[in-house]
């Protein structure tokens, strides 16, 4: 979905520029293992030390492409940067406006040059490959991106599953790749490259999880990142050069749906440090729609028996989370999952604990119709609202006509939910220098944003891998070791992929002190319980997140004082302004 959107926007730009005579080179890079297609999450691979391992994440940035002419000079392709990700099926970059002709080699960086690596990330448009919300590779606050994230699981000497996580980062670790490639670029040309992951881990410098460690964060002097850089330089190869025939047709910008002749644009406000959100162009934020959506959110008649509104399980003063462990429906039925907090949804791409909805408009109608929740049919809902005095006029203001439909209800709710932004916690004020952390809060932040890697003298709590960035949520779905077998299978039910068993949406930690109880089933009552889980309660299974699996059995061993410090820091993420607003 995202790949398509990116493609569409770049095509739009190309057409606007009107450079018809220029050619396009599409570079496609396919991760391989010794010539074979990568089998994700399969334990078929071995390091040179004989350790069995799987690969669950191959996510990286390539940039600064250049083509070498016959005379040896280089043609630099400006603004050539792409985020490639195996899981997201992102494997290509299109280099536009290249003069047709013959070239003898291609070069690029795995990673970014210094300027780009330290650019202000808030400037990148919503779908730009360097938007942190797109790639999930930005190291928050420390600046700079992870150039390449390789993760997976491996079996240690005791036969137990362990995690490995190699993150190549920092300016000096960007790797320049130069490949001989006899390119005759005419119109649309495709260059297919292979990236051999076996070489990345093996040649010329063999890496062993036991000997070299199962993680690197590319701190200065780290031998693993040095070895990765050396190995990467020889891991790419040219597979095929061909004329591209299957060019996708550019899709026009989606038009706003039901936009009335007169409307008031809604001012969507967020912190200037947040990445650009991908707000829907077909459902523009207007004051009229947001107002209607808000009224619907608090409307009890949305439920079958007029007993329950959305806000009964998403309590505004609890960051729209529920203080009950699992949701309780309009007719008293108990659900199986904890109602999620609602904030900063404009940056989310999947909704519900298992990610079964891709847009909010798709999401909002589900709890209304779910028999164990509000149990109201869409038809009935439309009839009920149409019979009320105030709604037809509100729909007219929001959508141009009096007609009420389930689609418009969903669009209005989507509008309102997108406006729930939280960005003024004590943490934000401390970052701006307006307030100061107490000593435990400061220590807690240090623990939060430091990895646990005793081999390199790092003894943090390693929280930021999944809860990083200004949104305190940097990963989509993860198995965080709650159980070793799963009574609620989680995301696997949606994707059907073994690798997704026991995975649930990673929640943002903003306002986390308000959103108790915790986890998809509300099993932990307090933040202290949650921290204790990551210190002593993490259970191993085949899909345990590699960033947790690399820790000792049970989790990260923190002292009691450190556990309290971590909780003290988490409490600084509470945004009183958001709590007071509705």
């Amino acid at each position: 979905m995202n790949a398509l959107r990116t493609f569409v926007s770049s095509m739009t730009l190309l057409m606007a520029a009107g450079t018809i005579s220029a050619a396009t080179l599409q570079v496609q890079i396919t991760p391989k293992v010794s010539g074979e297609n990568l089998q994700p999450a399969s334990f078929r691979y071995q390091t040179s030390a004989g350790e069995s391992f799987s690969v669950t994440r191959v996510s990286y940035l390539v940039s600064d492409f250049a083509l070498q002419r016959g005379d040896g000079s280089w043609l630099e392709v400006s603004n050539s940067v792409a985020w490639l990700d195996y899981d997201q099926n992102r494997d290509s970059i299109r280099l536009e406006n290249i003069p047709a002709g013959e070239f003898r080699s291609v070069r690029f960086l795995v990673g970014l040059n210094t300027n780009l690596n330290h650019a202000d990330v808030a400037q990148f448009p919503a779908q730009h490959p360097l938007n942190p919300n797109v790639n999930g590779l930005h190291w928050s606050w420390q600046g700079g991106y992870i150039f390449m994230a390789l993760e997976g699981l491996w079996r240690n000497a005791g036969g137990e599953l362990d995690g490995w996580s190699y993150h190549l980062a920092r300016d000096t670790n960007a790797v320049r790749i130069t490949l001989a490639a006899a390119l005759e670029i005419t119109n649309e040309t495709k260059l297919e490259l292979d990236l051999d992951l076996a070489a990345v881990l093996n040649a010329p410098r063999p890496l062993s999880f036991v000997k070299d460690g199962s993680s690197t964060h590319s701190r200065d002097g780290d031998p693993v990142s040095a070895a990765l850089g050396k190995n990467l330089a020889g891991a790419f190869s040219v597979k095929r050069i061909s004329a591209l025939t299957d060019v996708e047709i550019a899709v026009a910008h989606p038009k706003p749906l039901y936009l009335p002749a007169h409307f008031t644009p809604y001012e969507f406000k967020m912190s200037a440090t947040f990445p650009m959100p991908d707000l829907p162009c077909d459902n523009p934020l207007t004051v009229e729609r947001v107002e209607l959506g808000k009224k619907l959110f608090f409307e009890k008649r949305v439920s079958i028996n007029d007993a329950q509104s959305c806000s009964d399980c998403h309590l505004p003063d609890k960051a729209f989370a529920d203080s009950r462990g699992v949701a309780r429906g309009a007719e008293g039925q108990l659900g199986t999952r904890n109602s999620m907090a609602l904030m900063n949804l404009a940056w989310k791409k999947e909704f519900f604990w298992d990610g079964r909805a891709h847009t909010l408009r798709e999401q909002v109608l589900q709890p209304i119709q779910n028999p164990v929740e509000m149990h109201q049919s869409a038809t009935n809902l439309v009839l009920k609202l149409a019979a009320l005095d105030d709604y037809p006029a509100l729909f007219t203001a929001a959508f141009g006509t009096r007609a009420i439909t389930a689609e418009k209800i969903a669009l209005a709710l989507e509008n309102y939910l997108l406006t729930l932004t939280s960005f003024d916690a004590k943490f934000d004020r401390v970052l701006r220098g307006e307030e100061k952390f107490s000593a435990p809060e400061q220590r807690g932040f240090e623990l939060f944003s430091t990895e646990y890697d005793p081999r390199r003298g790092q003894y943090g709590a390693d929280c930021f891998h999944c809860h990083g960035g200004p949104l305190f949520q940097s990963q989509g779905f993860a198995n965080n070791g709650l159980d070793s077998s799963f009574s609620d299978p989680g995301r696997i039910k949606i994707t059907g992929m073994e690798a997704d068993a026991g995975k649930f949406s990673v929640p943002s930690l903003r306002n986390v002190a308000l959103t108790a109880p915790y986890m998809h089933d509300g099993r932990f009552r307090t933040l202290e319980d949650v921290v204790e889980h990551y210190c002593s309660g993490v259970k191993r299974s085949a899909t345990l997140d590699p960033n947790l699996a690399k820790h000792p059995d049970g989790g990260v061993p923190l002292s009691e004082a450190d556990k309290q410090a971590l909780v003290a820091f988490l409490r600084t993420l509470t945004d009183a302004r958001f709590q007071a607003a509705e």
Binding site: H253, S271, F445
Partner: protein
């Protein structure tokens, strides 16, 4: 604040000020937590720890190693340090030594424009500088001296205060058994420090020291030194102190390097010195008399103990004579003056500076006066400060800590509003 951040960035990128007072600090491990071995068995099994508690010196949360910030104004350089070594510290007396090091979080202010003392003042001693790993430098004396009236060395255990200040104990000789492999230990409130050459720091800096991974000890390398020692630290007068190897010719870098030879000899009857074993400790050495502005001959009530097993030669600083007082000449017969330094060119100061040198003997062992004689060459205006009262440039900040440093940027809100072409972005 924003302006300061801008300076950091440009400072890092350009490195235009190759000012050794800003660039000589050892910051490679500033982002690592300080570690200690609690006892010998932990040392040999290779199990350091990052937190420790003994009731008196409690490091219940990990602290970073050494230098955390380098700040500067036109007249001062400020070093903020935890005071903890970057090498693994300890054990001390196999865990029996009562003190453990703790995060001191102090700021050391160093004068940027050292000035030579015009009057010869005997300066109070104790902490005399900071090594480039952010660990404090203590002087050669351990703060105790012989009390003639009591007939023994004053010490807290003996309940005699600090003695007569005439026969001052040599800290290296008397406290050496409590040092760790880095030649460091800490006083009762946890301030880790070196009294003699900083052996482990020299290893980290590549200054002709080897590490034996089996015994976990450091040794002077057996090879012939071929390069000038690095700057090991800065004294409170703003002059640098180097490792033991300086240029053979003080004014010419082209004539090779050699171990700097101290001007002090034991008063054992050799090298033209008197023989305290025969005479008893009845006279002060000339350098000490000069510092006190008094005669060398002592009153009967001022004499020290006879040289014997309990008070061997070398027990007191005054057991050493300065060769310059015995007809020899600094720069011809030996290298360093009675302050343990000399005017010379160095790699960092090709046009010359006054520089102190840490001293070792021919076998590689620390030798008096270790780091500095009994007086500074310059005015010792450097000191620890509680806070910084002037605008400063940030020359270095521990990057593990930058995550915690406020950006100082004003609250900015970005507003997105729909217009016909899409969302319009406004940052205010």
């Amino acid at each position: 604040m924003k302006a300061i951040l801008a300076v950091i960035v440009s400072g890092l990128a350009l490195d235009v000020f190759a000012d050794p007072q800003l660039t000589s600090w050892f910051t490679a491990d500033s982002g690592k937590f300080a570690q200690i071995y609690r006892n010998d068995s932990k040392k040999f099994s290779g199990e350091p720890q990052t937190t420790w508690i003994n009731g008196r010196n409690n490091q219940s949360q990990p602290a970073f190693s050494g230098v955390q910030e380098i700040l500067s104004s036109s007249n001062w350089v400020y070093i903020r340090s935890t005071g903890l070594g970057s090498h693994i510290m300890g054990p001390w007396e196999n865990g029996r030594f009562p003190n453990l090091p703790t995060d001191q979080n102090f700021i050391f202010a160093i004068p940027r424009h050292p000035t030579v003392q015009t009057e010869r003042r005997f300066n109070p001693m104790g902490e005399i500088g900071m090594f480039v790993d952010g660990v404090r430098m203590f002087d050669a004396n351990d703060a105790f001296s012989y009390s003639h009236a009591d007939g023994e060395d004053a010490s807290p255990c003996a309940g005699i205060g600090q003695g007569d200040h005439l026969w001052n104990r040599d800290a290296y000789v008397n406290e050496r058994r409590t040092f760790d492999a880095a030649l460091g230990h800490q006083q009762n409130w946890g301030r880790y420090h070196y009294h003699a050459e900083p052996l482990a720091l020299r290893y980290l800096l590549g200054d002709h020291v080897d590490f034996d991974a089996t015994t976990k000890t450091y040794h002077e390398s057996k090879t012939t030194p071929t390069k000038h020692s690095p700057i090991l630290g800065w004294m409170q007068d703003g002059y640098p102190i180097y490792g033991p190897y300086g240029y053979s010719n003080p004014t010419n870098a082209a004539n090779g390097v050699r171990r700097m030879v101290t001007g002090f000899v034991v008063r054992d009857g050799k090298n033209g010195a008197d023989n305290l074993t025969q005479t008893g400790r009845r006279t002060l050495p000339a350098w000490e008399a000069r510092e006190h502005d008094r005669a060398t001959t002592l009153q009967n009530s001022e004499t020290g103990p006879a040289v014997n097993e309990q008070y061997p030669l070398g027990h007191y600083l005054e057991d050493y004579a300065y060769l310059g007082d015995l007809g020899k000449k600094a720069g011809r017969d030996f290298d360093l003056d009675e302050l343990n330094g000399r005017w010379c060119v160095t790699p960092e100061f090709p046009h010359g500076t006054y520089a102190y040198f840490t001293t070792i003997d021919a076998s590689g062992q620390p030798v008096y006066p270790y780091n500095m004689g009994r007086r500074y060459h310059g005015n010792p205006w450097g000191c620890l400060v509680r806070s910084i009262a002037e605008p400063v440039t940030v020359n270095f900040i521990n990057h593990a800590n930058t995550a915690l440093a406020p950006t100082g940027q004003p609250a900015k809100t970005t507003t997105l509003t729909w217009n016909a072409n899409g969302y319009e972005v406004n940052a205010k």
